[in-house]
Assembly symmetry: C2
Homo-oligomer: 426 residues x 2
């Protein structure tokens, strides 16, 4: 036990130490390191892929599902995609050093805030080895040291990737200890990590609901959570039906396994008869199962659409994140009914209204308490790259630290700087 | 026990409900409510002062110290000062509704962030009843509902003040439930409050170190802590000694019981002999006790300053917040020595360098990891009003949520707004 405990403690201390010089590293060196990582990932492809093959074989022997094996799997194409993402990070503006609100006080003291890194960020993730490189490169660019703790099943792949990243940072003239991979994936060690509030400034869990809950409940330092969304699209009575059908369909079917996909469709009663059959025809073609309340069921049943997967909604189909070709559907009697439903069942991720009614749109925007509120657009746009942040660490459903897409700037902080000439306070 | 539990639960639910309409209340109504609070505090002065007298009498009977009794005490003058502070809050710009970074994406989707209230803020504080009005008015202005839990010894005063605040909000057309005072001050209830993460978006402890530790350790929602600072001023060898003496003296003696007061004076060895006797003469006159390391002690002993309280520093005099007319003093051999000392002993509140050396100033600003870093100025400037934030909730020593002086804007969040015309994601 002593040895395991000291791995987390020792690597935490090394990361903390490295964070001091990393915070002051120039963009030139950081970008050189990022380009080095991209280059070395491809240069050392056979090393990475053979480590990955060992993970895959061990995973198959341990009876992991095909879905997990697929998340684990690396190939030449996947490595190229990872390297390309790292190159993109090198092209983003460096958030560190930006001055905010600099002003001169009446006593000539110049006061402002300078954007600086948080320090040390711990990322807890599951089976996808690309997260190792992804988080390491985003932290490097933003001047944060990182402690990476991935899933046991990916440990050989993660080790290989982390060693390439550390080498590349070192070759570029940066501190290799800025990236620390925890090799021992025991839960006890994770518990210890989550108690290191003097060492770790922020912990980011990336994975399923169970992992997020565990980290949120046990971390003693600030946590940035997200990635779970029960997303609503409300079609108002004043909607343009053509736009409504296109947007609703896109929100569900473009990708259904991501957190910004539509889970619940709310339809105003005045437009339900005109709209629901059109949506159902699209969804029938796309094999989307519709779990409907009484009113919606009645309308769709009488529409008699061939091949439609039509079901009665159970109570827990509302407020449920499906991550599948399933949507719950409810007819509401008013905008207020939609607002109440979302207030009750939403998770504050992404919610949309489809309407041509100005006042309804304004009320929806004002009253829905969610990270991203849409008018006449697909919730699938919730994404850091789409919103101009360049990259995304997570989609936060918190209100503090950062909300919605989290880019580089959102994993920094600021310090106040006061430049004087001998000022004393009266 | 059941009744106590339901007070927190019921008032939490009422605050959450009120927060929904409060978030959309116009600045006009909020400011009218604030001016009403200021007016009613003075109109109902006898009601407040008689409740306060009961607290004072109960406190005397319970043997509270004179210092606590003084913090409890309200008078006509103190009520006027409280009312004036509320009027000042009404004059501040409303942070709610500000649009940040609005941009039009290539697909014509208009995306930006709108500043919105956090929702419900809980404040845990001790014996000063003015905090009730202070926090209530800052939360009201920023559109946040608040749950106030003050000390048992001030409960009658807090009740009277809270009822005036609630009445004034109601008269102005706002939701009175936006301000909730917890009347039962049992610790068990505080524990329950700190577990209400679905109801409370942020908890702010205002008080001594013990209270802050308790809240930080037990809260399940985000916490904003601050108000504790071990503050350093480093006099570099290239300092202008006249400025250095004035700034160092001000940092310690203007007010010594506040968190931004100097605790430790670091002096470069090349300037120590020239500087320390001058500072000691000022501090001797102001009755500041100097707890010195070997080198500083030797210099000051041989200077023979009349009436100087000169002591040898014990190890724990460094990294200690005195809140008293005491300073620890250390001679360092270099800027690096000062940086290392601050990295080891600082609490990240306010730290200063006094120097005319450009490179030394830049290195200090770059390398000291603190909420407010000063060049040639007194650390006593760390204050929201001084820095142009108008008001101050707390001086945060955290890196997340807010750092340094926390004003109205810092207790808000944002939501992303995406205004479209039928956009779907390819």
């Amino acid at each position: 036990m002593t040895i395991e405990v000291s791995e987390v403690g020792a690597k935490g201390a090394a990361a903390r130490e490295a964070s001091r010089s990393l915070a002051r590293l120039s963009s030139t060196v950081k970008d050189r390191a990022l380009l080095g990582i991209a280059r070395d990932l491809l240069e050392h492809e056979s090393y990475v892929l053979s480590a990955n093959r060992e993970d895959i074989e061990a995973g198959r022997a341990a009876g992991l599902s095909n879905a997990v094996i697929d998340r684990l799997f690396l190939s030449h194409e996947r490595l190229e995609a990872i390297a390309n993402d790292v190159r993109k990070v090198s092209l983003l503006p460096d958030p560190v050093g930006e001055m905010i609100d600099m002003r001169t006080l009446p006593n000539a003291l110049r006061v402002g805030r300078r954007r600086v890194p948080l320090g040390v960020i711990a990322a807890i993730f599951e089976s996808r080895p690309n997260v190792t490189v992804d988080i390491a490169s985003l932290c490097l660019k933003s001047g944060n040291a990182c402690i990476l703790r991935g899933g046991k099943e990916a440990i050989r792949s993660n080790s290989a990737l982390a060693s390439i990243v550390r080498e590349a940072i070192s070759s570029a003239g940066g501190p290799p200890n800025a990236v620390q991979l925890i090799e021992n994936t025991d839960r006890a060690l994770l518990g210890e990590l989550l108690r290191m509030r003097d060492t770790i400034d922020l912990v980011v869990p990336r994975g399923g609901a169970e992992l997020i809950q565990y980290v949120a409940a046990n971390a003693t330092m600030p946590v940035l959570t997200g990635g779970i969304g029960v997303c609503h699209t409300y079609v108002d009575r004043a909607a343009n039906t053509e736009k409504a059908v296109a947007v609703v369909n896109n929100a569900k079917t473009r990708k259904y396994s991501i957190c910004n996909a539509l889970d619940t469709l709310l339809v105003h009663q005045d437009i339900a008869e005109a709209l629901l059959p059109d949506i159902a025809r699209k969804w029938s073609a796309a094999s989307v199962e519709m779990r409907c309340d009484e009113d919606a069921y009645r309308i769709l049943e009488s529409a008699g659409i061939a091949g439609l997967k039509l079901e009665h909604a159970a109570p827990d189909d509302f407020g449920h994140e499906f991550l599948a070709l399933i949507a719950s559907v409810k007819v509401v009697d008013s905008l207020d009914g939609a607002l109440e439903h979302i207030a009750r069942y939403g998770t504050g991720h992404s919610d949309a209204i489809i309407t041509e009614d100005y006042s309804a749109a304004m009320r929806f925007v004002d009253e829905v308490d969610t990270a991203v509120v849409y008018v006449n657009a697909s919730t699938q746009f919730t994404d850091g790259a789409q919103f101009g942040l360049g990259a995304e660490i997570i989609d936060s459903t918190q209100k503090t630290i950062a909300r919605g897409p989290v880019g580089l700037r959102e994993i920094t902080t600021y310090k106040w700087i006061a430049l004087g000439d001998g000022q004393i306070r009266p």
